[in-house]
């Protein structure tokens, strides 16, 4: 089986507009889109630029816009696309370094804005006791699986239209920390996310949830934050 692969090419040093190169690639069993990209780069056109590290869906380096959606190239099986025509473009909503490699800086700038690190409570001396059936971490537990690949960021229309919007990943991280009973900076973070560029820009479009390779629903994290922001406004928020 031969795949028709269209690859986005753009080099900001020399090009004004991007172009597409077409490659014919032989498909083999268990082929992921990352295999396709590496095949092209290794054996067809060594000048192609892309980024990847772990190739098993743990590092989140290889998110690309594949056949109409941001996906992790390594976790997207060619057979799952249901077509032999593959179009590969860089992750949307981010500046392009070259070809398929984007500059993740705007994404991480916003991620850093919500203070993504635990600011531990003073009296925390040893691991907290937390029974799995207490439900305390029920929501955040699966949201912590985020690998900051940026797929949600690339899929979000609000990010596309408003360059200041914090975006799904940063807000999800903010929620995980705000709901973490070990953290001491809850209010500080709520003040950050309740700006108009924060949670209120989410209009429950769910594109983020649709593309998340870890099956996280950032929309839900954002709703949890909205709820807390409103409670805080009403003077009902404790913690």
């Amino acid at each position: 089986m031969t795949l028709n692969v269209k690859v986005f090419r753009f080099n900001p040093e020399t090009d004004k507009v991007p172009r597409f190169d077409t490659f014919k690639i032989e498909e083999f069993p268990n082929m992921a889109v990352l295999d396709v990209v590496m095949n092209i780069q290794n054996y067809h056109d060594p000048t192609l630029a892309y980024r990847c590290s772990c190739r098993i869906g743990m590092c989140g380096s290889c998110a690309m816009y594949i056949n109409g959606r941001p996906r992790l190239a390594c976790r997207t099986q060619v057979s799952s696309l249901g077509t032999k025509d593959i179009t590969i473009m860089p992750l949307p909503n981010l500046p392009i370094i070259r070809d398929l490699a984007v500059d993740m800086e705007p994404f991480f700038e916003k991620y850093k804005k919500i203070k993504p690190y635990l600011i531990p409570k003073q009296d925390l001396k040893e691991p907290v006791i937390c029974k799995p059936d207490s439900g305390e971490r029920e929501l955040i537990d699966y949201m912590l699986e985020c690998i900051t690949c940026g797929a949600c960021y690339g899929a979000c229309t609000m990010v596309a239209t408003d360059p200041h919007y914090l975006g799904p990943a940063a807000l999800t991280r903010a929620y995980c920390l705000i709901a973490d009973k070990r953290d001491a900076a809850t209010r500080e973070r709520l003040v950050i996310v309740e700006q108009s560029e924060g949670v209120w820009r989410c209009h429950t479009q769910f594109n983020c949830a649709e593309v998340c390779p870890k099956k996280i629903v950032p929309t839900q994290a954002i709703q949890q934050l909205k709820k807390r922001c409103v409670f805080k406004r009403l003077g009902l928020f404790r913690g």
Binding site: N11, E13, F28, P29, N30, M31, A32, L34, D35, M38, Y43, D45, P46, T47, L48, A49, Y50, R51, S53, C54, R55, I56, G57, M58, C59, G60, S61, R75, Q77, I97, R98, A101, M104, Y111, K112, K115, P116, Y117, L118, P120, L124, E126, P127, V128, I129, C130, K131, P132, D133, S134, R137, L144, E145, C146, I147, T148, L177, D180, R182, D183
Partner: protein, 570 residues
Amino acid sequence: MEEIKTDILILGSGGAGLFAALHAYDSNPRLKIVLATKGLIGKCGCSRMVQGGYNVVLDPKDSVELHFKDTIKGGAFINNQELAWTLVNDAPKRIYEMETKIGCFFDRREDGRIHQKPFAGQSFDRTVHRGDLTGIEIIARATDQVFARDITVLEETRGLELLTNSNGDRVVGALLMNIRTGQFIVVKAKAVIVATGGSASMYKISAPSFDKTGDGMAMCWRAGAEFVDMEMLQFHPTGLLAGKSRLSGSVLEEGLRGAGGRLYNAIGERFMERYDPERLERSTRDRVARAGYMEIMAGRGTPAGGVLLDMSHLGAEFVESKFPGMCERVRDIGKDLAREPVEVSPTAHFQMGGVRIDVNCYSSLKGLFVAGEDAGGVHGANRLGGNGIADSTVFGARAGDAAAEFAQSQDWVPVDQVQVKMFTNNVLKFFGHADGPDVYQLRDELKNLMWEKVGVVRTGQKLEQALKRLAEMSEEVERAKLPTGSLRGYNLALNEILNLRNQLVVAQLVAASALYRKESRGSHYREDFPETDNQNWLCNIFMRKKGDGYFIETHPVKFTRLRPEDVAAK
């Protein structure tokens, strides 16, 4: 050329690099710290790919002595015992730090305390984990903490060479290259911490991430650091087989065997009954990997060259709830881990050998600190599953602390511009190579060569053949071609050449050391010397550069805490 002057330069952003940065900063926030990483911070390297978990003594019924004994026994008694002792003693501190300062959250037991799961080769269930994808939690949270501190992070910036003084006994900085722009950066540093990981990716079937190509080891070698036990390279017994896909070789975690997973050959025999009837699949990695390899070689493997890992007898629900990440990965290749056997093969995984260090990560060169997989001696001839991330965080933290202390008492040493010029020319020359060997062909050849000749089962003859070819390839790679009109920025072909150059250095060290050790021990198995020879080989092999070649010698292991007979007596 861009020049940066800093107190501490850290290469690598895996567990060791990140913990080094955090500890160096926290021990003295006034120090300037630069952390350079080949990919994106916290995303490249293998600590993030840790699946199983982190070995640590937390339960009162367990003890560090037991953990130590398991580690030494697993390492076939050639571990550096002081390093191993440091590992088991510091591990609990690091877990506490992760839970209370860094923000990690590990799985809990019913009573709300940290859960510890069974792993192979251990006398107690002591592996702390978060599901079956533990590395993400550790590395993501540590990266978040780096964001909280004033640490300069250079992303997609690879180390090219360590810079040394004129005597060659003091590391004074490093030459880096910004991959995005192709520009060089000279970093003048009082202390350099190398934590870039090993080079197991030089094997056809291998587990590490693609950007891990032994850069740090090769840099340290060229700078003249002393190495130890380079023949010791671990094969993980259960690497997924997925044909030509890059998914091949990725590890199906050890917890699967810990939980009771069984291995069968193609004719349905539970073959571990023959190799280790007592511990069966829960035997150490070296034994299980070799057993699998022997079965495949004896023609009892599957047509694709693997054996079968079966979890189905444990109940689909159990497997899916305990190992969701593994099930998902196997589902990617159209198989169902919870319900049917999955094809696996030994996969090159981890280098126990590396730069010789002491308990504070000082190498043989002044100003050079090494931590994590780049360093050798902690695990001896075989690493226990779950001791890897413990190693990187424990020694990363120690390197950070030590380098901070060192930097406070030292001054900068001038950088030798001639040396810098030589190193940059050695990269720029490739832009003039319109023709020459194709780097991707060379890389594929290296992977096959290592797999066949320096693999799970070695012989003197094969190793000699490998060494000969590796030497030739080292020359060929210097002539490798770059596509005409290649740009400096984001040039993956150029980076592949630099990777291959480094891998070839490490490959030669592994092969040469393997040829030297005329016995079988742990992960190192010689078909021509199949017995473990405690009479002559309870020793470590040391190597260092000498001219264009190397100097190699052995020293007996110092049994400072535990002698082999103490363990055997029990």
